[in-house]
Amino acid sequence: MAQQFRTSSGGHIDRGRVISFTFDGKSYQGYEGDTLASALLANGVHLVGRSFKYHRPRGIQTAGSEEPNAIVELRSGPRKEPNTRATTIELFDGLVANSQNRWPSLDFDVMAINNLFSPLLSAGFYYKTFMWPASFWTNVYEHVIRRAAGLGTAATEPDPDHYEQCHEHCDVLVVGAGPAGLSAALAAARTDARVIIVDEHPTLGGSLNRDNYTIDGKHGSEWAAETAAELAAMDNVHVFSRTTVFGYYDHNVIGAVEKVSDHLPVPPAGHPRQRMWLFYPQRVILATGATERPLVFGNNDKPGIMLASAARSYVNAYGVKPGKRVIVATNNNDAYRTAIDLHRAGIFVTAVVDSRAHPDAPLADELKKLSIRLLTGSAVGAAEGGKRVKYAQIVTTQGDTLDPVRIDCDLIACSGGWNPNVHLHSQSGAKPVYDDSILSFVPGESRQAEVSAGAANGSFALQDCLDQGNAAGAEGANMAGFEGKEVKAAKAEDEGVYALEALWIAPTPYNKSYKQFIDQQNDVKASDVELASQEGYDSVELLKRYTTQGMATDQGKTSNVNALAILACQRGEPIPQVGITTFRPPYVPVAMGVFAGHTVGNDFMPVRRTAIHDWNEKQGAVFIEAGLWLRARYFPQYPGDTLYNCYVRETEATRNNVALVDVTTLGKIDIQGPDAPEFLNRLYINNWLKLPVGKARYGIMLREDGMVYDDGTTSRLGENHFFMTTTTANAAGVLAHMEQYHQTEWPDLDVVFCSVTEQWTGIAVAGPNSRKLLEKVIDIDVSNEAFPFMAVGECKLNNITARLFRISFSGELAYEVNVPADYGEQAWLDLLEAGKEMGVGVYGTEALGTMRIEKGHVAGSELDGRTTARDIGLEGMANRAKHFIGKHCSERPALLGDGRLQVVGLKSLVPGRNLRIGAHLVDPDKRLGSVSQSQGHISATTYSPQLDCGIALGLLMDGASRHGEQLDAVFPLDDEKLRVEVCHPVFIDPEGELVRA
């Protein structure tokens, strides 16, 4: 019969909406409002997983995100999510879940054999063995361990869903929508402050949806619903449900994850699966409640053993009977609610086992009225049963344990007390402090603009929660600058007293040794803690690392305090002295997609395109990444065209005729002001004061440490007006560098500058016929007399106002035309049109590289941040009589001495064989593969059509003085070597006659 463990009525589920799902291939039914856990329990399914190390059967221990045991593989295919807590999965139609870490089946798991060997698998056992023979570790042992470790299996296909990140500011942020959180939000909102309230559940209310409280004469859950509705209706309030705050970061920045679509089979079109929220509140109120801790006794991990509050949740919130015959075990008053609520739901509560000698009298009377047996000064010493608890051995907490009382049951609901959820408080940088009255940690002194209220603050009485929330809300708003008249908090009818007495480990029946679990997910037992401390791993951090307690996916939410207490017992010290481990984000595990957000795959980084990009694309250009830019690398023309014959063709077209190249990506900086010349003079190693208007000059700038930073030509457009070009790679860096020196070192210089990289499209027209081409479209005289090498001027290209520069990177007669970018493509087309009859070509970065190598122009691969001006043979440019950035550090002895890598040219001595970038230069005739001293490397290579030979630029130890030497260029990665001759880096036209022609 379906859902035979449902109560006849009650619960916040919609019994009208039946939902089907499957677990381990078997179909079940539940109701809307169920979690996977409540639906499984409604169907009597308690065995849901196997433990990490011993593969012991495990059930459902909690009803929330602290669940250590009931973790399953949710969904399938590319949407599969391993290690998902059944207690937090909202049921949806067609949900598919499977148990993990078992083989062949959950019911029969062969690895359960580990249970027998458990004494061998004591804490840290792997540090003590698997060492012989050495090679066996990586090849044998580790594979076995790795396969055994881990829980679920990950999807291997790309995640089809989308994630995004949003930002919201507010005056008061309330975390948690239980009694404290709701009244805090209400109090703050009434002052008209901007309020955000966040709760991880689909409905607000927290413990009010779990317990039978009365507030202002209504059932607690009713009051919660009405308050939530009131808040939602206020336009200064933003209510987030299904949203978990996972991190409290510096400067009061709060990270949260909103599960937008996880309660649906797939996200609706255009909607993300999950969304990260970054909240920027003035004040934060932490109303994050408390987490119940289990009792530590023999076999306390068996299916059918759950937290007392969880049992209550399932009955009250989900209308599910978690058992038929129940023992409630406790060391405090709170668990009595469980006994009473379960009894009222028609479940047989066979006994309440209270470790305290003298429990609260009124509660004892109430039990008597309900004729529930009460055992005082007693505890469950051990549970027995196979895949479900069958009976408990009850021992007395004082005196001997030799005649335990056996009580049959199918559910043990236990409470070891409550731990305030101080995680976010701790993440904020504060230190929680130990409070002896509740045997747990409570918030300490605040380090950021946060305050805790209610159970999170160690106050478990309902009226205290409402009052503290109310006060914190008003105060928070007030501190954020909002006044409001005082409103009293809602009135609770509840005299709950907590009255906790310590019971860290229950005595075991007949003093037999049992497995008493502390961290159930990582299978850490009380005996492991004892062993660790015996071996000297006795500070709390060492303990965690050695035993792995608290390192599992539940992050020790239910185990940390118990472990600490047991360690303290071991060391015979009070708990505060043993210390507390700091909590780290995230509060609950959060999908990586959430942190990645939208900027993944193609959107990982923006693409930068020049104005000529579309034309290049139409021509079938092959592009290359240059920073974020896409540049045309070469232009295949015919079928079968390769990189090689394209760049050869494009180079020859340039050298023998004329061709265009898009140089838009170079950085361009407009510099103006009376002190502009002086500023440049300090920036560059060479002289700038006397550069005539209408002229360009090549410049080199260093970093303060004396290494070459960037190079380029800068032109003087007017007396106080310069136009600088930088390399593509350093465009942004050079501007920031200039701003830094101007604002932090030389603020008195009257100069301003801004980037104009984007304003201009740059087109280089290069080749012996470049002048002839330009004459047809440019309205000024570009003859050598009127417009000599390094001349700069304004002109019109057809009707477009343009800037013309007589500069050359190719080493040919060349000009560079800059036009406003929206005209860039038109200008490019006009130039092609004008050059048509002379057969103008285009070229890409590959041919550009070929020509700069032939010409010995250094570029990024030589200016690798480790070379000085001297190393690249341009020390002569430096004017050391003036001051410039990097001057002094470039004069350090090691930079002037021998052994520096210096730029050289290299020629392949093997006809038809080209050199390779990344090859190293070594003494000739060394056996390939032998360890040998690298004397340098090849930084840029090409085949030179001009010289019909493979040439290269390289950095060679003391290279400047080694022209003519022969070396081997070795490429051990591919077992290649090639004989080369060292030469001057300028291969063609050393006098520079062509550029001046």
């Binding site: 391993p82 061998l120 540090y127 003590k128 060492m131 050495a134 570790w137 990586t138 790795r146 470790a149 881990g150 829980l151 990950a154 291997t156 790309p158 995640d159 994630y163 990140q165 991190g247 970061y249 940088g429 062993l531 791993y537 500070s539 060492l542 690392r545 792995t548 992050q555 780290r584 995230p586 999908a591 990586m592 997609g593 942190f595 990645a596 957000g597 993944v600 795959g601 193609n602 990982f604 980084m605 990444e625 303060e704 690798d864 941040g865 002895p893 090691a894 002037l896 390779r916 970038i917 990344g918 190293h920 593969g929 360890v931 690298s934 490397h937 490429f971 051990p972 990665l973 591919d974």
Partner: protein
Amino acid sequence: MHYSALSLVKQALTGNRGWTRAWRNPEPRKQYDVIIIGGGGHGLATAYYLAKLHGITNVAVLEKGYIGGGNTGRNTTIVRSNYMLNANSQFYEHSMKLWEGLSQDLNYNVMFSQRGVLNLFHTDAQRDAAARRGNAMRLNGVDAVMHDLDGVRKLMPHLDFSKNTRFPILGGLAQPRGGTARHDAVAWGYARGADRLGVDIIQKCEVTAIKRDGDKVLGVETSRGFIGAGQVGVAVAGNSSRLFDMVGMKLPIESHVLQAFVTEGIKPLVDTVCTFGAGHFYISQSDKGGLVFGGDIDGWNTYAQRGNLPTFNHVVAGGVTMMPCLARLRVLRQWGGVMDMSMDGTPIIGKTPINNLYLNGGWCYGGFKATPASGWVFAHTIAHDKPHKLNADFTLERFREGGMLDEKGVGASPKSH
């Protein structure tokens, strides 16, 4: 006691009651021949090699908290020697060789797993740089393999190999002997090894001042009183500046935080260490099943050992771009370790202007993999009062003289290394 399969079985049969402390918990003596400040992997390794290789056993390691509680226990446990510059390549390769016999040497399984390290490249320029580095490695006797797409696919089958991503993968440079180790075990193994040779490991002992007589150190003031020493070695990377402030010295170091992250445990998915070339992201899978990953430092001075969001988001965006199936896996923990970021990205191991005071720091994020060699050369430097040739280039003086070892070529900018 000696660890072996046999001892495990014997203890198992007797309820594991016979295991003794892995290291003693001694009271500090008045005077030691050598004091090592810092009970992390480097300090403990130094003490171990001082005792084992140089016969200096009257040694104390002073740790302000608990051993291995600093960067040793906070890093992403990657071991590699895939450096370009000769000095680095040779030093880290020496470390690699020590790793290869470490478990047996220490009789403590440090779980050194040579599953390989793979650096992806996505542009021609990156491929060229990888070639230069890989060839340099080979010339220095270090293993290196250049992989094309198919080679990469064999090692990391679940990466995004499509062209439909911002920076498609072109290939990768691998060091097959690289891998990972169990970070805590390294500290504990060296501690146990040193302890067995007579070294005193003194926890909860914070150095508050360094007592000097001119340019000679006499000993250290600590939270547990004054302790005299013939020589003092400082191995507190992350806090080197604070220690040397005690002797009025400024170092070419800034402290920055490097974050690390781990996901929930899953069955084997990532079988090598893999780094993304188009963003800051590297990943490996621990023997416990968690995917351990990291990226770039946050890039500003800090001594706070905690994580932060902007870098986290950028790092994960790179990870999901590289390997799209990661998106659904959950991050379990985010933490941070404080790095000594040196001014050229390379460590400083050697003498200082103060005669018997020695510095081992500036590790940036290369510290863990260096642990064995770092201790090895530092012990040699202290024992002989001069550097071994393996750390001869790692002097403090190199910055003054212009002998920087700048792998990245970004200059005196710690945030960029």
